[in-house]
Subunit: 330 residues, 2 copies
């Protein structure tokens, strides 16, 4: 298997991206193709022991920054590592593309049929999904690819999310819920009220509207939402988790007795922090494009990049693209 | 001052509602009018020492449950405690209405001109706001009253929220932000992209788009959002805070050393829990209706009901209704 890693992806690129690629090549024994500035990649690779690993470099003369506007990147940076990397997959020279770079740009380029992968026939809008880093590991889709949605998009997000959980994690008939502002039918925006009946009639294992607490307590395997709400849910969860950690630390240190207690309890806090660490899970699959694309967090470290490659590898192995194509066709 | 408390409001009504009313009458020295089932209210009042307190009962023969549909309540329960209580304010027999009951029903009845209070002239949609129970105490509006919004509603939410923070907390020129899925201008749904320029041109101290982390770190005093997103943000925050508390407790108890640490650190956890307790803040003001209405959480205890009455009292004292009427007129 040949997996492309965008060397110019993460906020601190190319260091974590290259280090993660090396880790992945070693752990999975697959060929990793690093795409980006050749000199920089070589300099990073020189820091690692790569003996016996299958690592290749494909040069890309441009790099997309987090500040670049996706709509402009398409035209202004035709030789970016995102373009070059996705083209390798399109031309069947690689099986999957992994990037911790500008999400919007990866999305925009991947969507284009001529340049990127295009959509799987029948897919209205690719959706970005993410496995939430909590105990129950629910899948949230769409997680930010499509701010404005139509009911049919949400139906397809449910379908693609369900197939992903079935394919990747061997969950039979994943439970699917629709994020709303109340569990009762008829709650929600017009979008939600129209998407509910479509999901109910879809043949999916649809349980109806759910609220954030049901998303966290394992009521569903797949939570369907528009990209704006999905992004809001994820970012609120991250922000509150950080806020609570900081507040607990401050309160513990405010008093010598609680400070000693905090010191003794430290390993427990570490375990909680790791549990909520998005790096543990890897990246967000872009479902509905005609190829395997995994988008990592901009703050990805080497471990996170390696995990994203592992996720891409499994998606190729399980042939998620074929499964979605078959599911959408029905 | 005369403040109405819906005795049939909270999930455990009338016990916390009546107990909170007694606490409020004692603490604030104002007249509290309990509306609801006369016999039940009398039975609850008998449990308290009410000597010297100004407490009145106004009978209402119907009660709205949390399961009642707001649209149906308007017609099917014309003598509910919500109807009767709001009519007292409308008829100037009371200054404010406090309920921990069915939010949608309070909203629906309050909105009606003939039965409830109607809107302040010029207000397109009343917005429900809430002071978030974190250190910086930001105000989130709309918090669930309007799932589907138009850009002009968001503009007015910003205006009303700003006036609320100015009036109630003496904050000069409150900083106002618009919740979106990115700080950059042009991020968000069509609704957000259209509301941004309206807020920017409004004369408010508008700082642009914010993400949940900016909402938590004190970047704004007022965060503007549609009711669906506001509700999602609030419920995600509550759910994640609960999830983290439980996970930390489990992890601490999983090992004897960390368990001792947890015991020593317990007071610190208590302080964090109180900090995130919505009961500390009180209720959600319904801004834009022609009168003071405070809606409490269904899970309100007596203390929360008392706090909501305190909030209503301050809103009457500061004449928030007049301030909004003047602000909207401009």
């Amino acid at each position: 298997m040949r997996i492309v890693v965008d060397a110019m992806g993460s906020d601190d690129n190319p260091e974590p991206d290259v280090a993660g690629a090396v880790m992945a090549a070693r752990e999975f024994g697959e060929t990793i193709i690093l795409v980006g500035d050749q000199a920089q990649i070589e300099a990073e690779l020189a820091k690692h022991d790569t003996a016996g690993l299958s690592l290749e470099i494909v040069a890309a003369s441009q790099a997309v920054t987090m500040r670049d506007k996706p709509s402009e990147v398409i035209k202004s940076k035709p030789n970016s590592s995102i373009h070059v990397g996705l083209r390798l997959v399109k031309d069947r020279k690689a099986n999957a593309f992994v990037s911790a770079g500008n999400t919007g740009a990866v999305l925009a380029v991947a969507m284009l049929r001529q340049v990127g992968l295009g959509r799987i026939p029948g897919v209205k809008r690719p959706g970005m999904g993410v496995i939430f880093p909590i105990k129950e590991r629910p899948f949230l889709i769409d997680n930010g690819a499509n701010a404005d949605c139509k009911p049919e998009y949400l139906l397809q997000f449910g379908l693609m999310g369900s197939l992903y959980m079935e394919c990747m994690l061997d969950i039979a008939k994943p439970r699917v819920g629709l994020i709303s502002n109340g569990e009762e039918e008829g709650k929600g925006t017009t979008l939600i009220k129209e998407a509910g009946p479509l999901l109910a009639a879809s043949g999916l294992n649809y349980i109806g509207n759910i609220e954030p607490k049901e998303f966290l307590n394992g009521a569903v395997h797949v939570a369907v939402t528009d990209g704006f709400s999905g992004n809001l849910l994820m970012k609120t969860a991250e922000a509150i988790a950080r806020y609570m950690s900081e507040t607990i630390r401050e309160e513990i240190q405010a008093n010598p007795v609680t400070a000693v207690g905090g010191l003794l309890a430290k390993p427990a806090f570490g375990r909680v922090r790791r549990q909520l660490d998005p790096h543990e899970v890897g990246g967000a699959p872009l479902l509905g494009v005609n190829g395997v694309v995994i988008i990592g967090h901009g703050r990805s470290n080497a471990f996170a990049v390696k995990q994203a490659v592992g996720q891409a590898r499994l998606a190729v192995e399980k042939n998620i693209v074929k499964a979605i194509a078959a599911g959408i066709k029905q």
